[in-house]
Amino acid sequence: MRARSRALDPAAPVDQTEPADPAAPVDQAKPVDPAASVDQAESADPTAPVDRAKSADPAEPTDQAERMDQAEPADPPLADRDSGRRLTARRGRARRRGKARGIERPWMDVRDLWTEALAGVLARPVRSALTTLGTVLGITTLVITIGVSATAGNQIVGRFDALTATSVTVVVPPSQDPVPLVDWSGVDAVRRLAGVVSVAALADSDDTASVQVRANDVVSPGDVTGQTMAVVGASPTLPAAVRGRMTAGRFFDAGNIARHDRVAVLGDQAAQLLGISSIRDSPAVFLKGQAYTVIGILGEVEREQQLSTSVILPPTTAEDQLDLGMVTRVLINTALGAAKQVAHQAPIALAPGAENALAVTAPPDPVRARKGVQGDVNGLFLVLGLVSLVVGAIGIANVTLVTVMERIGEIGLRRALGASRRQIAGQFLVESTTIGLLGGIIGAVLGMVVVVAVSAVRDWTPVLDVRLAFGAPVAGALVGLLAGLYPSLRASRMEPVDALRS
């Protein structure tokens, strides 16, 4: 600019030595930013026709000379002038780049934005903490919902795996043929199949589904001692096949079967009904006029639970006494994952050539089951979590709006310091996003702690998705960002004049 004044005014050089001018004494010593050489080009512009025509050349040496002066250190009094020159220089550069009118644009370092926003959040820590509550609740609910349902689903599937997924049942249709479709020895053929853990055959019939059974032979009037229960024949491997346990005595063995012994094993509930708790004194039960010695009590039956109220006889005895000679069901337990294959092979092993006559009950596809379970659990709570999130967002929006209104003076000041509307909006957006992010992090942590705690109490294995752990804070931040949109807009629309007045 000095260059311009000189160029315009022939007397300008005098200016440099003239002490009357308040600015003059400092003028001489003025250190110029190296960038100031650009000054020439820029400062010329308002007056350029004159300038260019008159002084395009003469000004150049002057400027050179001025640049020579730069070596000297800056005095404080020069600071303001200096800045003016630097800025002008900057404008010059900007103009060269073709920027509109060459004035520097407001600009903010991301770190400054973050510092300002964080300071804004921390200025009122209690309020910020309370503001995060809504998001915390929402995110916690979501994480718990998703986490617990995944955990529980996994658990249900686990139980399903342990029992149903390894259970195969072959049902033998009743036939009039004297030669049975499935022989008792067919069980052995099935046992040899790969993946079979245990197997047992069972014989029951409609005729023996309800048989009067008494624990003693004394008939006393008015005293009901008889119970109605089912009587079945079974192979000696039954306890393993139904995953039960002998609570007293033992199950009958091959010897009992071979000898056609009149022995019986009672289901635990049947024993209770009949008043038999111990087999030490060899109790007997009476059915269809015959006495059978009770040699064991079968309890904790997981499969075919109706067996716990049944009287179980050796197949030979059952055939002799009750005409229960035909195998009606074969219970198979398989190794995990083998059910499908065993279900296919067992009928062939049991009744070669007539496998299609047998009905097989195999477990459903476990994957589908897991999805079904999770779907059931998720729906409602997911909605609940989303509702809490929306409430949280409204909370953040509300508080941020109040904060904006409280900080009108601050907004005015920042505008006076050169902050653009966008920078003001940016600060409030970052503040609300930070609050949302904090809520998301706290919510995710709380939610995961709850999932782990629930799992610990219920003896489950907690299942936590990594995507959930990282997604939850992001969701919180997103909520904060959305919630901050309107308040930030309000803040940025404020006129600095009005804002400073308040």
Binding site: M1, S5, D45, D80, R86, L87, P106, G409, L413, V497
Partner: protein, 256 residues
């Protein structure tokens, strides 16, 4: 820049329309030049807050603007501070014609050329004194040699300049009114402005603190800072080199 004979750099597509009445081009030592500035508020009836105001402030001058409330003082301040646009007339600030600038450019110009000092200090209560001062550099690209890393040192330098070296790290609520105003002045100095624009700087201060702030103004003025102080206090305006009075939107130079 419109309205002045101007050479157009080849890459600039601004259309320049020469205007007959604007021939005065401020030289480099003119910080403020108002040329027949009018400001009318469109109310019913229209309020003429400024009428044909002409004002030139040279670099290093200490000017006070006095006037009763309602005289247009605030409008003049807002106009000078680029917070408001004149309805007509030209305002040159530090060699830049501001009327044709866009909002962003005015904002940037305001931040870089003008240091504001307010009656109510406008310090952020939740930031320390140094952080308040450092705020002045937050909204612009760092100038060469004035990087972000040296900002704290420069803030401390500015605080030293206003005599508050012993208050680093304090919060504003622990300072007296006079000290707070000096922090605000340090903040204004931080951006190396061409102009210190003070709006009733002593309005909230007792006489003792007023004295200390005015002494600081004198000191700054001696160092070559351009000061424009808007006040209604006699004691404040007496210190200025030049005094203009505004009444009913018109400016009159006061001789003394």
């Amino acid at each position: 820049m419109t309205g002045l004979p101007t050479s157009v750099p080849p890459d600039d597509d601004t259309v320049i329309v020469p205007r007959a009445d604007a021939v005065i081009v401020p030289d480099a030592d003119t910080v403020i030049q108002l040329v027949s500035v009018d400001r009318t508020f469109d109310s019913e009836p229209p309020v003429h807050a400024l009428r044909d105001v002409n004002l030139t402030v040279r670099r290093g001058e200490h000017l006070s603007i006095v006037g009763p409330s309602g005289s247009g003082k605030s409008t003049l301040l807002n106009t000078l501070g680029l917070l408001d646009r004149p309805t007509s007339g030209a305002y040159w600030l530090d060699g830049v014609e501001t009327n044709t600038l866009g909002d962003l450019e005015r904002t940037s110009l305001r931040g870089s050329r003008i240091g504001f000092v307010f009656q109510s200090f406008h310090l952020l209560p939740y930031r320390t004194v140094d952080e308040n001062v450092m705020l002045a550099e937050a909204y612009r690209r760092p100038r060469p040699g004035r990087g972000r890393a040296g900002r704290r040192a420069r803030a401390e330098e500015a605080l030293e300049r206003v005599g508050l070296a012993h208050r680093f790290g304090f919060r504003p609520d622990r300072l007296s009114g006079g000290e707070r105003q000096r922090v605000a002045i340090a903040r204004a100095l931080m951006s190396e402005p061409a102009l210190l624009l003070c709006d009733e700087p002593t309005g909230n201060l007792d006489s003792e603190n007023t004295e200390s702030v005015l002494d600081l103004f004198d000191q700054l003025s001696q160092q070559g800072m351009t000061l424009v102080v808007i006040t209604h206090e006699e004691a404040v305006s007496k210190r200025a080199d030049r005094r203009v009075r505004i009444s009913d939107g018109r400016l009159t130079e006061e001789s003394r």
